[in-house]
C-alpha cells in the first residue's frame, strides 16, 4: 500500500499542545514517526542569562503551562543552595501544599486531554470544572490563576490569606466527592480498558535507558519518586504512598496518575493539619544588588510528570551564568514517543502521546 506523510500537529484535532509529529502512515498503521518540536521555543535558558536572579521568577513558571509551581520550586531550590539561604518551616509546608495543588491541577488537565482523545467528553468537562476550584484557590493566594510566581528563594511570597484553608478544603472535598464518579464513568469503564490495555507498553529497563521518570517509570513497577529519594519541602514529615503498576502500558500509566490524585489530596490534608506557625519567608538581599557566590547546583523535584531538574551555574555576578532545565517530558517526547508510535494504529497516536503525559513547553523551553 502507498505510504503517506501526515503532519499530526500542531494544528490537528488529535493533538493536545503545541507539538508536532510527522507520521508516515500506510493505511491506518504508523510506519515511522518523527517528533517535530519547536513551536513553543522561546529561548528561556538564553533569556535567563540576561536577567537577575529575581527577574527570572516570572520566566521559570512559564516553562510548564499545566504545572508551573514545580518549576518555580526547583529554581528557588537551586538559588537557595547557591546563595546558602535557609527556608523557615512554615514555608516548607506552604510550598508542599502549593506543589500538590499544582500536581492535582496538572493531572486533571491531563484527564481532560486523555479522556477527549479516547472519546470520553464528559470526564474531560468534569475534570476541567473541578480544576477550576483549585484555580480559584490559586487566585486567592497570589492573584494569578495559571501562573503564580509564588514560591521565591527564602520561602513563599506571602503567607496564606485568611479563609484560604477553608476554600482549599472545600475544593478537596468537592474533588473527593467527584472521584468515585470519575471511576465509574472512565477508569472502571470497559471501553477505556479495551482501548488502552497493552498499548504502548515498555519494561522498566527500557524506560530507564530512555531517561523516563515519574508515572511513566512507576507504571513499569519501579517504586521511584524524588519525594522519597531526596525529600524536599515538608515531604519527609508526611505520610504518602508511591503508587505503582506492573504492565507499563497506557492503561497502567493512566491508573498510576489516577491514584496519585488520591495521594495528593491526602498530602494536602496532612500538611494543612501539621503546618506550624511562624514566618513564611526569609528576607532576601536587595534583588538589584544581589550577587550570588560562584558555584553550581543541581536541584531536582518530582513534578507531575517526573524528575524536574535545574542546573544553575553562578560566576559570582548578579545573573546566572547558565540555567539548564531538565524537563521530564523531554526524553519522553522525542525518542520514546517515536519508538512507541512505530506500528501503532493512527487512532491511538494522540492517546499514546498523552499517556506519556507530554508537555510541549518543557520540551522546547
Amino acid at each position: 500500500m502507498r505510504e503517506l506523510e501526515l503532519y499530526f500537529g500542531p494544528q490537528h484535532v488529535g493533538m493536545v499542545g503545541n507539538f508536532g509529529i510527522v507520521l508516515t502512515v500506510e493505511g491506518d498503521t504508523v510506519v515511522r514517526a518523527r517528533s517535530n518540536p519547536g513551536y513553543l521555543h522561546r529561548g528561556f535558558e538564553k533569556l535567563m542569562e540576561y536577567r537577575t536572579y529575581m527577574q527570572n521568577f516570572p520566566l521559570v513558571c512559564r516553562l510548564n503551562v499545566m504545572d508551573p509551581d514545580p518549576e518555580e520550586m526547583v529554581y528557588a531550590m537551586a538559588v537557595e543552595e547557591l546563595a546558602g539561604l535557609t527556608v523557615p518551616p512554615r514555608a516548607h509546608y506552604i510550598r508542599t501544599i502549593v506543589l500538590e495543588m499544582s500536581r492535582i491541577n496538572s493531572h486533571l488537565f491531563w484527564l481532560w486531554g486523555f479522556g477527549n482523545l479516547l472519546g470520553f467528553d464528559t470526564i474531560g468537562q468534569w475534570a476541567m470544572g473541578d480544576r477550576d476550584y483549585f484555580l480559584d484557590c490559586f487566585e486567592m493566594l497570589c492573584g494569578g490563576r495559571v501562573y503564580h510566581t509564588y514560591i521565591w528563594p527564602g520561602g513563599v511570597r506571602r503567607d496564606l490569606p485568611d479563609g484560604f484553608q477553608d476554600k482549599l478544603r472545600a475544593a478537596l472535598d468537592n474533588l473527593e466527592r467527584m472521584l468515585p464518579d470519575y471511576d465509574e464513568v472512565f477508569f472502571n469503564n470497559r471501553i477505556f480498558a479495551d482501548r488502552t490495555r497493552g498499548i504502548a507498553s515498555f519494561t522498566r529497563e527500557e524506560a530507564v535507558s530512555m531517561g523516563l521518570t515519574g508515572a511513566n517509570l512507576r507504571a513499569t513497577g519501579a517504586r521511584v519518586d524524588v519525594r522519597r529519594e531526596e525529600p524536599y519541602a515538608a515531604y519527609a514529615d508526611l505520610d504518602f504512598e508511591v503508587p505503582t503498576m506492573d504492565a507499563g502500558d497506557s492503561y497502567s500509566r493512566a491508573v498510576v496518575i489516577r491514584r496519585e490524585i488520591d495521594q495528593s489530596i491526602s498530602i494536602i490534608r496532612q500538611a494543612l493539619e501539621k503546618m506550624p506557625a511562624g514566618p513564611a519567608w526569609k528576607k532576601t538581599p536587595n534583588p538589584f544588588k544581589w550577587r550570588v557566590r560562584p558555584g553550581e547546583a543541581y536541584a531536582k523535584i518530582e513534578s507531575a510528570r517526573g524528575e524536574d531538574g535545574m542546573y544553575l551555574v553562578s560566576d559570582g555576578s548578579d545573573k546566572p551564568r547558565r540555567a539548564f532545565v531538565r524537563g521530564p517530558s523531554y526524553p519522553a517526547a522525542i525518542l520514546m514517543l517515536e519508538k512507541l508510535l512505530e506500528g501503532a494504529s493512527l487512532s491511538d497516536v494522540g492517546h499514546i502521546m498523552l499517556s506519556l503525559n507530554i508537555a510541549a513547553p518543557e520540551v522546547d523551553r
Partner: protein, 159 residues
C-alpha cells in the same frame, strides 16, 4: 556505595580525573575529554543507569565549553555531575548514545545551540530552531538583542 567510595573509584578508574563531594548525594567529577566515555562506562557499570541530562556551559573567557553529564543511581541515591571541557574552537567529542540511548536528543540540542559536534551521533539534524542559518544561538557571544534588531528591525518600527 558512599560518595567518598565513589570519588576514589572515579579517581582510580579514570585517568587524570578529579572528584569532589559537593554535599550528601551530590558528586562533582572532572575528566579530560578523551576519558569522558571511559568515565561514563565506569559509572554505568556501578549502577548509574539514569542519565538525567547533558548540559553545556559556555566559558567564553577560557575559550572552552563545559559538557556536564548528569547521572543518577537509583540504588545509591547519588547524583554525579561528570564534567569535561572542550576547546571552543572546533568543539568535538564522542557521542554517549550507545550507552544511554536518549543522550542522542540532548546531543542534538547541544549541537544546534552551541555548535558542538558529537562523533557517532546519527541524528545531528535541526531540532528546535526553524530554518536557522545564523551562528549557534546559545553561545555567549550571540547577542539576542542585536539579532532581533537586525532580523526584525524593531527600532525602525517603534518610534
Amino acid at each position: 556505595m558512599s560518595e567518598e567510595e565513589l570519588k576514589s573509584a572515579i579517581e582510580r578508574g579514570v585517568e587524570a580525573a578529579t572528584a569532589t563531594v559537593q554535599r550528601p548525594g551530590r558528586l562533582l567529577a572532572a575528566v579530560p575529554n578523551a576519558a569522558a566515555v571511559t568515565a561514563l562506562i565506569l559509572l554505568k557499570a556501578r549502577g548509574f543507569e539514569h542519565l538525567s541530562a547533558i548540559s553545556c556551559t559556555d566559558w567564553i573567557e577560557e575559550e572552552q565549553f563545559e559538557l556536564v553529564y548528569h547521572l543518577w543511581s537509583y540504588q545509591d541515591r547519588i547524583h554525579v555531575m561528570l564534567k569535561t571541557r572542550l576547546p571552543r574552537a572546533n568543539p568535538w567529542t564522542v557521542t554517549a548514545a550507545p550507552l544511554f540511548p536518549h543522550a542522542q536528543t540532548y546531543e542534538r540540542e547541544i549541537h544546534e545551540m552551541y555548535g558542538v559536534h558529537f562523533d557517532g551521533n546519527p541524528r545531528l539534524t535541526p531540532f528546535l530552531l526553524d530554518h536557522w542559518r545564523g551562528p549557534p544561538p546559545m553561545r555567549r557571544d550571540f547577542n539576542t538583542r542585536d539579532h532581533v534588531r537586525e532580523r526584525f528591525g524593531i527600532e525602525e518600527r517603534i518610534p
